[in-house]
C-alpha cells in the first residue's frame, strides 16, 4: 500500500461480534471525551428464513471521495489527502454544524467541550509512521483493516453494501468483505 493509493476501511461484517473494543480503542488513542465517539457499533436484527439474527456494523468516517462535509464547510476546514483520507483542521472550525447535517453517515459530531466539529481521521499520525489505526489494532476479532480500496474492491467478496451500510453519492471509502456470508 503506497501513500498515493486511496485507502479506506475494510470491514468483515460477518465476523464482527459487537463488543465495542474498536470504539474504546479509538476513544483512548484520540483522547476523546467520555461520551464522544468517532467509531460506533450498531446492532441490527435481521430477519432470515429460519429466524432473526444479529449483525453489527462498526462505522466511523467513511473518508468519501466526494465528502459532503468538505463541500458544505464555509471555513474550508476539511481537506482530502493524497491517500484519500479526509482530515479536519479544527482550528478553522467555527462549530456551525453544517458538516454534521451534511454527512450521510452521521460520522461528524460537535464536541461538548469546545463546540467544534470532530471526526475520525483514520489515525493519520499512526499511518504516517507505518502503523495502523487504533480501531484496527484494537479489534480482538481482527475484523477491521485499512487497505488500498481499489485493490480490495477487485476481490469478488468485496462490496460497498452491507447490513446498515450502502454506497451513496459521496463515494465512501469503506468496503465490506463477505468471504463466507
Amino acid at each position: 500500500m503506497s501513500i498515493n493509493q486511496k485507502v479506506g476501511f475494510v470491514f468483515r461484517q460477518e465476523n464482527c461480534v459487537g463488543c465495542g473494543a474498536c470504539t474504546v480503542a479509538c476513544q483512548i488513542h484520540n483522547e476523546l471525551p467520555e461520551n464522544h465517539r468517532f467509531r460506533k457499533v450498531d446492532r441490527y436484527e435481521v430477519q432470515r428464513e429460519d429466524g432473526a439474527i444479529d449483525v453489527w456494523l462498526s462505522h466511523s468516517c467513511m473518508h468519501c471521495e466526494n465528502p459532503a462535509c468538505l463541500m458544505v464547510c464555509p471555513t474550508k476546514a476539511y481537506h482530502v489527502r493524497d491517500d484519500g483520507i479526509v482530515v479536519l483542521d479544527r482550528e478553522k472550525c467555527t462549530g456551525c454544524g453544517l458538516c454534521v447535517s451534511a454527512c450521510p453517515y452521521s460520522a461528524v459530531s460537535i464536541r461538548e467541550d469546545d463546540g467544534k466539529a470532530d471526526k475520525c481521521n483514520m489515525c493519520v499520525e499512526l499511518l504516517d509512521r507505518g502503523m495502523k489505526p487504533a480501531c484496527v489494532t484494537g479489534c480482538p476479532v481482527q475484523c477491521i483493516e485499512v487497505d488500498s480500496i481499489d485493490e480490495v474492491l477487485k476481490k469478488p467478496s468485496a462490496s460497498k453494501e452491507g447490513v446498515g451500510y450502502g454506497d451513496c453519492i459521496t463515494k465512501p471509502n469503506m468496503v465490506i468483505i463477505k468471504e463466507r456470508a
Binding site: T23, V24, K40, S101, N121, T137, G138, G162, G166
Partner: protein
C-alpha cells in the same frame, strides 16, 4: 437533515436498528489537534514497556504491554508476540489506564463514622488501621475463636500472589474459617470427570484445524473474545460453526446452525443428538468399541426417550435438531467448547456429563482439531499451591469449619447461620479482599442484611467504594494489580505469564501481600518465616513443583521473567494415546461416580424446576444472568469509557413483551421471593419465550436509575447437584412493566 439518507440505506438488509452504542450522555473533553500529524497523541506510547498479565477472571488472561513514563502508566496494548493476543486487549483491557487512575479510587484508610452503610467516613492512618483491625480481631479470637474470622475473596485478582500467595498465608497463620471458593466451574468438573476423568482438553490454538466448532453454552464474545479469530480461521477454510445457547450470542447469529433450547434442558438435547447419531449410522462405533464402557447401557437409556419428549422439554424443533446432529456427525473433526455459565444450574454436573458423552458417541476425542474444551488449567494445576499458600501453618486445618462462598448470605445470617445445610458457629469478622460479595454473591439482599449486623466486623481491602465496602467498618486501600509484581496462569492456552510491577502504589494503597504481611506483624504472627518473605520467594514456592506438565520444559522462575510467557507442555493431540483419566481408563457411558452421587449412572434427566420451591417454580420467567463483554464480574463498573456500555438491562422476548405491554427501553420490574430489581427492557428475539437475560453482578450503588437494583437481588444461593457450585441460572422471576 441528511443529504442522502435514502442512498445511505440502500442495500441495507436490516429490519431495524435495535440498539446503538452511540448517543449517551455528553461529557467533558480535552482539546485534540486533528490535522495531519498530531504527534502529541503518540507521546503516551513512548516510554518504558512493562509486560503484565491481565488478572481479571477470564480464560483469555491476556499478556499486555504497558507504557510507563515518569512512573505513570500511559498506554496499554496487546503483547502481539503472543498469538493468543494478537494486537489487542478486549474492550475492557483497553481502558486499564482509566481503571488504574479512576477518579473514585480510594487512596487512604478509612473508618466508619456513622451507622453501617450510612456513608460517613473518617480518614485514618495505616498505623491506626492496623491497630484497630488487629485489636478487634484479637478480641474476636479470644472470645469466639479464630474460626469466627472468615476471609471472603474470589476473582478480583487472579495472580498467583494476589489471589492466594499473599492473603492465604495470613489466614492460615490466623487459623481462620475456610472459604470454599467453588462459585464457578466445579459442577461441570464433576460431570466431565464422570465421562473422561478430566475437565481439561486440547489447546485452543488447534481450533484452526477443525472442520466443525461447536459452541455450547458459551458466549465467546464476553468470555473468550481472543479465541474467536482462531474459530474464524477454521471457518475461512470451510469449517462449520454450530451453536447451542438459549441466548442468541453473537456467534450464534453467525452460526451455520444455532439451537436455542429452553434453559437447562441440555441433557435432553444432547440425548436427542446422540440418539440421532446412533440411529443414522453417524456414531463412531469403532471409536466407541475401542475407548468406552457402558455403550449398551447408553443405548437402553436412549431407547426410553422419544424425540417428541425431547422437543417438548427443550423447545428445539426435532427437524432442526436432526439438521444439527447430521452436520455434526458428518464432520470429520469437531471441537466442542463448553461454556462456564451453563453448569451454574441445579443440574449442572448432569448436563455437562451428557454433552461430553455425546462427543464420545461422535468419536470426537484424541485428534488434532477435535476434542472437548472446558477448563484448561494445565499450568495452574501444576503449581505448588500448598507451599505457595503455606497451608502447613494452619493450626487447625482439619477441624475448622468450611463456608461455601455461594452460601455467604446463609453463613452470615443474623440469627440462624448455616453452611452446607447445617447450623454453624457464628462468624464475627469478614475480611473481604479481591471480591465484592454484596454484588457478586447470590441473594444480595440477604448478603446485605448479614453484612449490616452490628456484631459483624467487616474489613474491606479494595481500591473502590463497592457495594460491600460501603457496609464496612474499616476500609483499607488496595493497589490495583499493576502496582506489584506477580505471575499468572491462563485457563485456555496452557500459559504461565509474568505480571511485572508497572507502577508504584497509587496514594497510600498497599498490595495484597504487603497488607496481609504487615497485618500479620501487628497480630504477632510474623514468627512464621512464611510471613516475612518477599514476592519472589512466594512465586518460587508456587513454582516448586514436580508436576510433569510443568517440568517437561524445565520451566523456571528466571525463564518466565525473561521470556514473559511460557507454554506449559501438555498432550498433543489431547487423549491421542487413548488413555482416559477415569478409574477404568475408558470413557464411561455408565458411571459409578454418578450412581454414588445419587443420580442415574448413564443419563440423568433431572431439571432445575424439580428442585425449586413451588413459589419460585410457578413464576413465569427463567432469568439467566451471564457475563457481558464490557464487564468482568463486578469490575469495570466505574471505568471511564467502559461505563458507557449499559449493564442494567433485561432482555425480554418480543412476544412476551407484547403480551405484557412492554416496549423497548421501558423500565421493568423483575421479582421473586428474594426481592426485586428494576431494569431497562431490551425487547428482542435474542432470548426465547419465557427467558429473561440480565447481566451478572451489577452494583447497587452504580444503578443509573437510582433504584439500587442489582441482578443478584433475585438469584438463588442453592448449590448445584455436584461440586458445590453456584446455580445462579436456576432462578425464576416474575416480570412486569414498572
Amino acid at each position: 437533515m441528511k443529504i442522502n439518507r435514502r442512498a445511505f440505506l440502500q442495500g441495507v438488509g436490516a429490519s431495524s436498528i435495535v440498539s446503538s452504542l452511540s448517543g449517551l450522555m455528553p461529557g467533558i473533553a480535552s482539546a485534540t489537534e486533528q490535522r495531519g500529524g498530531a504527534p502529541d497523541k503518540l507521546l503516551k506510547r513512548e516510554g518504558e514497556i512493562k509486560y503484565h498479565t491481565c488478572q481479571r477472571n477470564c480464560a483469555d488472561r491476556c499478556l499486555l504491554k504497558f507504557t510507563v513514563q515518569n512512573g505513570r502508566m500511559t498506554y496499554v496494548e496487546g503483547a502481539s508476540e503472543m498469538k493468543k493476543m494478537g494486537t489487542s486487549p478486549c474492550v475492557k483491557g483497553h481502558a486499564y489506564v482509566q481503571y488504574t487512575y479512576a477518579a473514585d479510587r480510594i487512596l487512604h484508610p478509612m473508618e466508619r463514622a456513622g451507622e453501617k452503610g450510612e456513608g460517613k467516613w473518617r480518614r485514618i492512618s495505616w498505623d491506626e488501621a492496623y491497630a484497630k483491625i488487629s485489636s478487634r480481631l484479637k478480641t474476636i479470637i479470644k472470645d469466639h475463636g479464630a474460626d469466627s474470622i472468615l476471609p471472603y475473596s474470589y476473582s478480583g485478582h487472579e495472580g498467583v500472589i494476589g489471589k492466594y500467595g499473599g492473603p492465604s498465608r495470613f489466614f492460615n497463620a490466623v487459623g481462620a474459617r475456610k472459604l470454599d471458593r467453588k462459585v464457578c466451574v466445579f459442577a461441570a468438573y464433576e460431570g466431565l470427570k464422570s465421562v473422561t476423568g478430566t475437565y481439561q482438553g486440547p489447546d485452543p490454538y488447534d481450533n484452526i484445524y477443525t472442520n466443525c466448532y461447536i459452541s455450547w453454552g458459551q458466549n465467546e464474545t464476553a468470555t473468550n473474545v481472543h479465541g474467536i479469530k482462531f474459530i474464524n480461521q477454521a471457518r475461512d477454510k470451510g469449517a462449520k460453526l454450530l451453536v447451542v445457547n438459549p441466548i442468541r450470542t453473537p456467534i450464534a447469529s453467525q452460526a451455520d446452525i444455532w439451537l436455542q433450547p429452553k434453559p437447562s434442558t441440555d441433557t435432553h438435547l444432547a440425548a436427542g443428538i446422540m440418539k440421532y447419531l446412533i440411529e443414522n449410522n453417524l456414531a463412531d462405533t469403532k471409536f466407541i468399541e475401542a475407548n468406552t464402557l457402558g455403550y449398551q447401557d447408553l443405548l437402553k437409556r436412549l431407547d426410553g426417550m422419544s424425540y417428541d419428549e425431547i422437543e417438548k422439554v427443550t423447545g428445539v424443533p426435532t427437524e432442526k435438531m436432526f439438521k444439527f446432529a447430521k452436520a455434526y456427525g458428518e464432520s470429520e473433526l469437531s471441537v466442542l467448547r463448553l461454556g462456564y455459565g451453563m453448569q451454574r444450574n441445579y443440574n449442572g454436573a448432569r448436563m455437562s456429563r451428557a454433552i461430553a458423552m455425546m462427543h464420545a458417541v461422535a468419536g470426537q476425542y484424541g485428534k488434532i482439531g477435535n476434542g472437548f474444551i472446558y477448563d484448561n488449567t494445565q499450568a495452574d494445576d501444576s503449581l505448588n499451591y500448598s507451599k505457595g499458600r503455606a497451608d502447613h501453618i494452619h493450626p487447625n486445618s482439619d477441624t475448622v469449619g468450611h463456608v461455601n462462598m455461594t452460601e455467604i448470605a446463609k453463613a452470615i445470617h443474623p440469627t440462624n447461620p448455616t453452611a452446607y445445610g447445617k447450623p454453624i458457629k457464628p462468624i464475627k469478622a469478614v475480611i473481604n479482599y479481591n471480591g465484592n460479595f454484596v454484588s457478586v454473591a447470590p441473594d444480595s439482599n440477604a448478603c446485605r442484611r448479614g453484612a449490616m449486623r452490628d456484631d459483624l466486623f467487616l474489613v474491606v481491602h479494595d481500591f473502590l467504594m463497592t457495594d460491600t465496602a460501603e457496609l464496612a467498618d474499616i476500609i483499607v486501600p488496595s493497589t490495583t494489580q499493576f502496582e506489584f509484581p506477580d505471575m499468572g496462569t491462563d485457563y485456555n492456552c496452557y500459559h504461565m505469564q509474568t505480571s511485572e510491577k508497572v507502577i508504584e502504589p497509587v496514594g497510600e494503597s498497599k498490595d495484597n501481600w504487603i497488607f496481609f504481611k504487615e497485618l500479620a506483624a501487628h497480630m504477632g504472627l510474623d514468627h512464621h518465616p512464611e510471613l516475612r518473605v518477599d514476592y519472589e520467594q512466594i512465586l518460587r514456592d508456587f513454582l516448586d513443583t514436580d508436576e510433569p506438565a510443568f517440568r517437561h520444559n524445565n520451566i523456571t522462575y528466571e525463564q518466565i521473567i525473561k521470556e514473559k510467557f511460557v507454554t506449559v507442555y501438555d498432550q498433543r493431540p489431547y487423549f491421542g494415546d487413548g488413555k482416559y483419566k477415569t478409574d477404568s481408563g475408558k470413557i464411561e457411558f455408565y458411571s459409578e461416580m454418578m450412581k454414588d452421587a445419587g443420580y442415574h449412572p448413564v443419563i440423568d434427566f433431572g431439571l432445575p424446576e424439580d428442585e425449586m420451591i413451588p413459589e419460585e417454580k410457578n413464576l413465569p420467567f427463567r432469568m439467566l444472568s451471564p457475563a457481558i463483554p464490557q464487564r468482568a464480574n463486578s469490575a469495570f463498573y466505574n471505568v471511564k469509557y467502559i461505563r458507557n456500555f449499559p449493564a442494567y438491562f433485561a432482555k425480554v422476548n418480543t412476544e412476551d413483551a407484547k403480551e405484557l405491554g412492554i416496549e423497548n427501553n421501558d423500565r421493568v420490574r423483575l421479582s421473586n421471593h428474594r426481592g426485586e430489581a428494576f431494569f431497562i427492557a431490551q425487547v428482542s428475539s435474542q432470548v426465547g419465550r419465557g427467558t429473561l437475560m440480565a447481566p451478572k453482578n451489577n452494583w447497587r450503588r452504580m444503578d443509573p436509575q437510582g433504584k439500587a437494583s442489582c441482578t443478584n437481588n433475585l438469584t438463588t444461593d442453592k448449590l448445584t447437584d455436584m461440586g458445590g457450585c453456584s446455580a445462579y441460572h436456576s432462578t425464576n422471576v416474575a416480570l412486569e412493566k414498572a
